[in-house]
Symmetry: C2
Subunit: 311 residues, 2 copies
Amino acid sequence: VSVPGDAALGPGREFDLIRSLIQRWGAAAVGIGDDAALLRVPRGETLLASVDANVEGIHFQRDWFAPDEIGYRAVTAALSDLAAMAARPLGMLISLTVPESWMHELGRVADGIGEAATRFQSPILGGNMAAAVELSITTTVLGAAFAPLMRGGARDGDAVYVTGLLGGPGAALAHLQRGEEAGDGRPRLAKPVARLSEARWLADAGAMCAIDISDGLVADLGHVAAASNVHVEVEASAIPVFPSASLADALQGGDEYELVVTSPAALDTEAFARRFGVPLTKIGRVVGGPPTVDVRGARVADAKGYDHFSR
Amino acid sequence: VSVPGDAALGPGREFDLIRSLIQRWGAAAVGIGDDAALLRVPRGETLLASVDANVEGIHFQRDWFAPDEIGYRAVTAALSDLAAMAARPLGMLISLTVPESWMHELGRVADGIGEAATRFQSPILGGNMAAAVELSITTTVLGAAFAPLMRGGARDGDAVYVTGLLGGPGAALAHLQRGEEAGDGRPRLAKPVARLSEARWLADAGAMCAIDISDGLVADLGHVAAASNVHVEVEASAIPVFPSASLADALQGGDEYELVVTSPAALDTEAFARRFGVPLTKIGRVVGGPPTVDVRGARVADAKGYDHFSR
């Protein structure tokens, strides 16, 4: 069952709800209304597709965020996977499971989804809605690129760069998990940025490999190391740490949605900063050796990212 | 976070689980391993995308089905949305939320997903996995078609046809909901068929409008009536009813995944039956009038399909 649009609405509360969401989304929702959404992929480009789930109680607690922030960050996390491949968004499908206790807030959750759709120019093409015990937002993103950046594109001799300042979301999350105020890192956690324009700039400038930081810098560089079969050396002193965050937050905190890229050519970090208003920082290099990550100048107690099923 | 393949695996139980699923899927899983899956859409064709969620406790009860049936039917329901548009599957993304109590059965759920992927030639291109309170399987299907069939394609004078025999899943579901054995309709409920090949045959033969029966024949014809702005008349005596099911099951039961099409040209029902081994039956016609559905020769107490949020 796909989301039917106005033209295909039957009776019943489910369709009333969907109709109200489509109305709230306005121009951010495009062409919804059949069994499947229709898209045109530009000739010669590759289609990219990714899905990401955001589940209450697992990825967030209800009282940590405003409803619109919950919608916004779920969608942005999914769009970040397109940024990691330097793709342009074509649009997305939103699958919601909604408990009765969330019904009154659903419009505000949808507002956040629509805000992200507008900001990152990724129209809502369709979706699905079902009752459930937990609120969940599962976002499928569709994008296109001539030459997607891959995790396996890093080579011996490449320099490693990262966008933004790291550790803000990790620090904020740690505060929330201890029942404290989130602190200065809160906006980075509640309203992250999918670095879509930045990724295309970096690919045009010569980056050959990219990943977005969702599990944590070291964990995600580990994915690059494994996929590219290279060793990655990071200089702890070079990491751009968010004010009020620790180096450990910056190395291991997830939910950043900043990009790490590797490039055989030197990248113009000043031009990047002028263009986007966020720093681009060289933090290390790709060298021969085992497909692992080494952080020089820091003790990393546990280099793993967040693992949903670890005990 | 997309599902990383073998090449991009880090440590941790989440990746171990994903690795084990990919191994079970074998040739049914293709190219998993980066932030997004890469696909080529045939030149000149339209891309179709749809998402469908199957949630424990809402769409099924755990004790109704074997684990592989739960995986199989979730994926098949999603693929049916591509059949409804006469599209060929390009592949799909599988987003799973998995409670601890399901961990030991997860492999068998995955087996059912893989079985459907193989049967309907729709490779698993990527996905997502997260812990949760309920098992849920959210399937994004991607397909391609030169000329997708739309809900809005019905015109005054068209004949209305349906594939298969109706009411089996509805009858089985009613038994299960009363705590009884599912009966003869069980295979139709537990292992439905996505009528993908049948849909392309029907489109080639002249059908101009299609929908798959997920909410129930009358409810889904209502979507066609609304989207096409036509009135649909169905003859109760013409409905092909599944043995042991009632006419009410056939008119209102959901989860059929049979197709209803409308066609200005007469369709060769015998050729269809010979080709696919299931009947194609003319059940009514499209006429001028209000955009509603009329069932002649039967009293339909409640023409609504299943509505997740009705009380």
